[in-house]
Symmetry: D2
Subunit: 342 residues, 4 copies
């Protein structure tokens, strides 16, 4: 039996990535695609790379008959999302890719996103969508909040280490390198090819990046006490991929073993042999996350490197993985595409 | 029933692309991978993006038991290929990706490749592997010669036009733009990132590119008289993709209709609406070829633009499409992955 | 004695390139920089790469005292430019980089730019700014109209050939490859890094590109009869550089000799040895144009390749070269910076 | 009076960058260029971007009459360099760009470079070439050892802070992002465009990068006690530029003031206003280094970001700056070219 899928916000990169993935999913059919400002257009006009697919035309959200939808992906901007989801049927299964339901705490949301939350009941209901760590909650959830792509990259490196108590919780530093597709398709001067190609710079440095709200929430919850990490993101001249270089204090081999044990049966989290570090080139277009650990020459320090595709494992792939769980399908269905290289 | 597949030359880009594609093919299993200089290594060491797959170790060719192989892809350099295939069992189904068996004529081979052919019997036996035009021959062939990636791009634009007699055969010009992965993985100064990124130049200009041998052979055969096209390739700072801008003299709308009719039922050849021209971005990682036609302001002139992924539809995807036919499988099996964008 | 320079439209790429070049010019000082929407900002805020320079703040045009300006560069959009220059003092020397004064014919302007010209007297007064071919007119001009960057690239390849009558005037084809900085700094979806990097496509194909107005005007004037070229531009994933592949019918060696003779004493136009073709990599950041000629395998056909930096020789370098002439300075002053590679 | 300059190793990127810079230097003339394997070739064949210059042909080192050379730049690989310089006249002024004379200590050299030093007398004589900190020694030196490009980037961020005692010496972490031209022009698989573009990875992680030898030597000398920094370099898909993200413990404003004071009169070291961080895009092609400081949300932690062009300020620009001092010329002569953007 095929599940009927709606995607709200299909004219952005994460929306298109969902369509790409679901196109090869054996048990899902896309029955509605919304994009308010492009309603009426064919998806092939907005994303010509999808022209070989037989897809519904883009429509406005209120043109969708949600009684005929089994699960809805919502790939809209934060803020807007709260209002849209509040207006959807309360029994509709939803995987949200925005930031609106990631934070459990209303005050934390307001602090990081600069406005009070307008759908506190939904915020309370939502399950944090980091699949590998919230499987059972997700399987029974109605509303799942996809994680930030940077937040996912850092958490895959750190969660088992914090849980196992093998690193110093007061000295965790994440230096992150991100491709540009995470910044979306809305035209901005700083995202032009002429501005970005051939160079790099930091952004939201100094502890201002909103994904810190997720790190704080999750790491403190695992540790059972407040944990604050230092986090400096950089924008790189590449389209897809995030590499997090995570600096920790602890024994490198113990750290490696901890990750290996934690992820031994995870289909998408691949821990490299000790001393090898991964490249973003090796996960592009896929739902895989590669992790590596090396010790530093300074005793007691280790470096964990985590890479994933921000549009896939970092958002749309993760969303599909969660949707599989919510629909009672095998978790990996439609997600085992190999990365593409070169 | 799964078919047992060997890939010779698995340490190059087309070999790796074959592995990537076959990984999602429901009726094929890779049972042998050869790479002489890297024999003994795991594929994950040579191509870490494939580390999630369970693959045989790289071996030397003579370590393969070909009695346990149903079909063999050969992705070795031209010249070497002749000798290797000559030594393989004569009943083994082979899809060759090199240039060694593309030209029917021994003199033409010697002219373009600078050495006499050493396996004339195989040359005579081989079928030219442009799937959409040699389906029945390929289905019953033992040895299929994959086309040049540039040669495929140009032929998809021109074959129906030459066959239908709707263009001037004496004034065909192909200005081609190619990504760098077609040049292979062997280190050369001119292929370094520092040399290539951010610029463009011609190569093999003036009628020296070897794929002209294929154009001459095929176009003359279709026309029933000698046809010589002008062909200037350019190298672009992109990894995958070929765009052929084909200049012809004829009526643009007739040309468009001719392509539309010719490809109406082709799953992988997509003709855009009249006046729209395709981008290489929209076919990366896929077996699709997009074609567009526009008339020029000068009456009687038209431009046909054809784009495909050199590693996929231009070589490994085409090879798999041919293998499907040779094994009696549905032609599109394992090949309907959507392109990846951005 | 230093000449006082104003630059209108200093917040765009050609404006910034003018600042970069004039910074090393021994006889010019920038005394005013305008950018209406960024008036009040320091140039270092708009273009941090210029932060080491001591520059005037950006201002509105009407804040400039033009009685204290010896020469004004105008790097504003077409349309706007007509009105701005109409309002400037009629004795002010002006080098305009827009399209507004390139075409001598009012009807041609309206045809290509879609609106009637609003400053016909200035249009009549302006001199076409292709320095190497209009030196004496430029030296005595008050208003010089910089050429289109694509138009310059094509003309350097073709003007001497048309003048010498060594090519067929009815079969000239320009297939052009352009970097993205020519499209400017205004944010547009199609100019985003995520959209452009790693691919290529045509634009304004079919005879719609506005620079055709310049080709028509100039080539017809040289030939003494109408000449219409075919012209297909492509956008490439590189920031700077244009490569024009010009297909002509004529004797390749004669063509090469014609270019060599024509440019023998030109400091910026470098003709490569016969059979060698240039790369855009070798002119980035400079005022040099490299040209090469090769014969095709089809007798009587030749390919001329011309490369230049669209922001430099294609616009701001050309503008400075013209300004030198207008101010009685050595033509090459401030323009002999080597290209940058890699 | 012009100084006669020889460049050994002119076929590499740093050699070519020296030629580019010296071409606009008013008091230097290149009289000899060596490149053993390319001896006899014109520089324009090896680096076509220099074709507009009138340069001596490449020759073998022993063909150079060093009695007619005032200063020699040596841009050869480490190891080889020791032997070459040992054989040069002992009164010849030399600026070496290799790693051979950077380390003062023979044991440190052997540790980091894996072989005993073969010219201990020269090692003892050489002056470390970080211009801004060794001006007087360089001015009177005969042999100056250019620094590592990564080592320079990190030192510009850290030296004044260590000297002023405003940071914790036991917790310094440098996460560095480097463009690919620093890896040179010798063909290697990992440096191919198809391998590198569109991705990032670490290299020499875990405390294995040789530039650590320079950090250890210099920082310990300044501090008067051993200082060991943690250092993780990453390779980025860009040709030029290094960005060092330096994590320190100390008061951010004090750190900013310390850098501002230290560099107040430095022509090439530009400290941005507090809280602003630099981009590699803004220094490409120039001798400028931009530095920025920001405080983290975690009290007592600061981030210093330092960017420079590895081929220019990181090697050839630095070398020319040192040569100016050694020849009694103004330090900035020939070095004030603006960066190029975009």
């Amino acid at each position: 039996m095929t599940h009927r899928i709606a995607i709200l916000g299909a004219s952005g990169y994460t929306g298109a990535e969902l369509v790409r993935l679901i196109a090869t999913h054996p048990d899902m059919t896309i029955t509605a695609l919304s994009a308010d400002r492009k309603a009426g257009m064919a998806m092939a006009e907005v994303f010509p790379f999808l022209r070989h697919l037989d897809l519904p035309r883009l429509c406005k959200i209120d043109e969708i008959d949600f009684s005929q939808v089994d699960l809805c992906f919502c790939a809209l901007p934060h803020g807007t999302t709260q209002e849209v989801i509040s207006a959807l049927p309360r029994n509709l299964k939803i995987v949200d890719l925005s930031a609106d339901f990631r934070l459990r705490d209303a005050a934390a949301y307001e602090k990081w996103y600069g406005a009070p939350h307008k759908a506190l009941d939904l915020q309370a209901e939502a399950v944090y969508g980091l699949t590998e760590f919230y499987r059972s909650e997700i399987a029974s959830a109605r509303l799942v909040a996809g994680t930030g792509c940077n937040a996912a990259t850092g958490q895959f490196a750190l969660r088992p280490l914090i849980a196992a108590g093998v690193i110093d919780l007061d000295d965790i530093l994440i230096d992150l390198k991100a491709g540009v597709s995470g910044a979306g398709r809305t035209p901005k001067e700083m995202l032009l090819h002429a501005e970005l190609s051939g160079g790099t710079h930091t952004y939201s440095a100094g502890g201002k990046h909103r994904h810190l709200g997720e790190f704080d929430q999750e790491f403190s919850k695992i540790a059972g006490r407040p944990v604050m990490v230092q986090f400096t993101p950089h924008l790189l001249p590449m389209n897809r991929g995030i590499l997090a270089t995570v600096y920790v204090k602890g024994d490198a081999k113990t750290i490696h073993q901890t990750l290996e044990s934690a992820y031994a049966s995870e289909p998408f989290l691949q821990v490299l042999p000790f001393g090898q570090l991964p490249s973003t080139r090796d996960i592009v277009g896929s739902n895989y996350c590669h992790l590596g650990v090396i010790g530093d020459r300074i005793p007691g320090r280790a470096v964990v490197v985590s890479v994933l595709d921000n549009l896939n494992k970092g958002s749309s792939g993760q969303a599909l993985q969660n949707a599989n769980l919510m629909l009672g399908l095998p978790e990996t269905m439609g997600l085992t595409l190999a990365p593409i290289f070169p």
